[in-house]
């Protein structure tokens, strides 16, 4: 499967729609869309034209993602987009990260799993420079974060977006303004351009009609989706998601997973997500990193985690009380 194909072409290749239907959809959307976004919304156009249902579209994209996931192998020659090298972090006298070495592959979905309080969020904050390691180096591409000036760090951060555990939506702004915020502050776009992009993102997360709601009027799932829309609005290169499904019911959790998959298939961001949804999360990512007691226990393709004979990993996947991890 060629991952550089547009979503529309992939759908045709996968037999979800015909070539004719795709061409019709492309022609239809060319009438009202700029060239730069030409194929971006083709999925939605297909739905609007009745060629495919929304759920079938998501399922189709997931099936394509699944094929990619199963074919994924770690390429040791490829330069990782983010790399932690011997990173140590001590918080309140506790060694949260203990000489961590890990690499995040570019243009893949990577899940970081591990016990609560095991330093997963701390790793994410190191990746974006919100925390500085006590020892070791964090590399983004070939840039060491710790040695960058404020301006250079800002430039690096412009490549990222981070979905915080609680959403971190601004309480004083409604959903629309929250999503528009990064564009208003970081670009010179006109309000018309901003509106078009914001509405596109809100459509992608199914929040159209909720623009005027304030964060305290939203449910947990809506808040996560609004935060996801804000994370995507600047079209970042790397998206970090800190427990995007925590505290949500299984249906919303599944919907968020589909949404992440859909977002990945459309935009091909490098995505790093922290999750406790084990083992379901293995279906939604290419690469898995297991963190335990501040160290990386496993790093590799998601299909290989379940096969691991490591007793800690096995206990974690099965959620057993008995085992090397003593919690009671």
């Amino acid at each position: 499967m060629n991952s550089s194909l547009s979503v529309g072409r992939q759908l045709v290749a996968n037999g979800c729609i015909t070539d004719n239907e795709l061409n019709n959809a492309l022609q239809h959307q060319q009438k009202w869309q700029s060239n730069s976004a030409k194929e971006h919304l083709v999925g939605r156009t297909l739905v609007e034209m009745g060629y495919i249902t929304q759920s079938a579209l998501l399922e189709c994209l997931y099936q394509q993602f699944k094929l990619e996931r199963e074919a994924y192998v770690v390429d040791s020659q490829a330069q990782p987009i983010i790399r932690l090298e011997q990173v140590v972090k001590i918080l309140d006298g506790r060694r949260v990260l203990d000489a961590v070495d890990l690499s995040i592959p570019a243009n893949r979905v990577t899940a970081i799993i591990g016990m609560s309080g095991g330093g997963k969020s701390v790793i994410l904050k190191h990746m974006v420079g919100l925390m500085k390691p006590d020892q070791g180096t964090v590399w983004v591409g070939d840039q060491p974060l710790g040695k960058l000036s404020g301006r250079e760090l800002t430039r690096i951060r412009n490549r990222f977006s981070l979905l915080f555990q609680g959403g971190a939506l601004f309480d004083s702004l409604n959903v629309y303004d929250n999503v528009a915020f990064p564009l208003r502050e970081k670009t010179k776009w006109t309000e018309i351009e901003i509106r078009s992009r914001v509405m596109q993102c809100l459509e992608e997360v199914n929040l159209v009609g909720m623009e005027r709601k304030y964060p305290d009027e939203l449910s947990g799932g809506m808040m996560k989706r609004a935060a996801l829309a804000r994370a995507m609005v600047t079209d970042p290169e790397i998206v970090l998601l800190d427990e995007p499904t925590a505290g949500l019911d299984p249906i919303i959790e599944n919907a968020i997973h589909y949404l992440i998959c859909d977002t990945f298939m459309r935009a091909r961001y490098t995505m790093v997500l922290i999750s406790h949804a084990v083992p379901e999360i293995f279906n939604w990512c290419h690469h898995v990193i297991v963190l335990h007691r501040g160290k990386v226990l496993f790093s590799g393709p998601s299909r290989e985690v379940s096969a691991s004979q490591d007793p800690v990993i096995q206990q974690f996947i099965r959620g057993e009380i008995d085992g090397p991890i003593q919690v009671i």
């Binding site: 951060r157 915080f164 309480d171």
Partner: protein, 256 residues
């Protein structure tokens, strides 16, 4: 004994570190005032929040402060047959001391506590981190407009306090106690000099800085959930209020 000395040493070092951090924070704020982008909307919003919305409480405090000064002053001065000095006594007390100090304390209670709480909540809900990740300086976006607004608004509120306070004194002295209006205002005109007004403005400028600096600092670095925010808010109000009174003494002794 050694434990006590050790503890004292640690606390002293912590205090020095905290003071150093506070001054570095202030330096960063001053630096960010000079660098673009300038967010006029944020600045105007803070002028409205700290200034306009404090008008009622300032007016109420001023009128009653002026009235009670006139009442107390009249009975004290009448013992010495010096009722004619009531106008200057009320005006000078308000312009040089009560105006800036009470305005500062009122703004601390009304707006300073809200500044600390708002930033504290933004901190614990990771909204400040979110700004950082977006490549927007939270200091420039959140703190600088608040400090700038405080610097501008406090002198204006103080001038308003002065006018309303003197008018409150007039109500009691002239309308209630039957003193002549000409005597009241004539005394003020001859006794109050430009130096007195400038002293009051300098003080209020310094208090504006103290309030916004301390309150934003405490909120910005709030930690450990709701309890942390409540602690940050309380310590911001207490520290600002105490510093206002301490600085008042030193500024008075320098400018007198």
């Amino acid at each position: 004994m050694i434990d006590f000395i050790q503890k004292l040493g640690f606390q002293t070092l912590d205090l020095i570190r905290e003071v150093g951090r506070m001054f570095l924070f202030l330096m960063d704020v001053f630096f960010s005032m000079l660098t673009p982008p300038y967010r006029w909307n944020n600045f105007l919003k803070q002028i409205h929040f700290i200034g306009i919305r404090s008008l009622f409480v300032i007016a109420l405090t001023a009128i009653f402060a002026g009235m009670v000064l006139a009442l107390q002053g009249y009975y004290t001065l009448s013992r010495f047959g010096s009722e004619a000095l009531l106008g200057p006594a009320v005006a000078l007390s308000i312009i040089r001391e009560l105006g800036p100090v009470l305005s500062g304390l009122m703004v601390t209670g009304r707006a300073g506590s809200a500044l600390a709480a708002e930033l504290g909540i933004m901190r614990i809900r990771e909204q400040i981190d979110a700004l950082d990740v977006m490549g927007i300086s939270p200091l420039k976006y959140l703190v600088t407009p608040r400090v700038e607004a405080g610097l501008i608004v406090l002198p204006l509120l103080t001038l308003l306090f002065d006018v309303i306070g003197i008018w409150g004194g007039y109500l009691v002295a002239v309308r209630l106690l039957g003193m002549s209006g000409g005597t009241y205002f004539g005394g003020i005109e001859s006794a109050v000099e430009m130096h007195d007004i400038v002293t009051g403005i300098i003080k209020s400028f310094c208090f504006g800085l103290i309030i916004t600096w301390i309150c934003t600092y405490k909120g910005y670095f709030a930690r450990r959930g709701a309890e942390g925010v409540s602690h940050a808010t309380t310590s911001a109000v207490v520290m600002s209020s105490v510093l206002i009174l301490v600085c008042d003494y030193f500024i008075t002794s320098i400018l007198l």
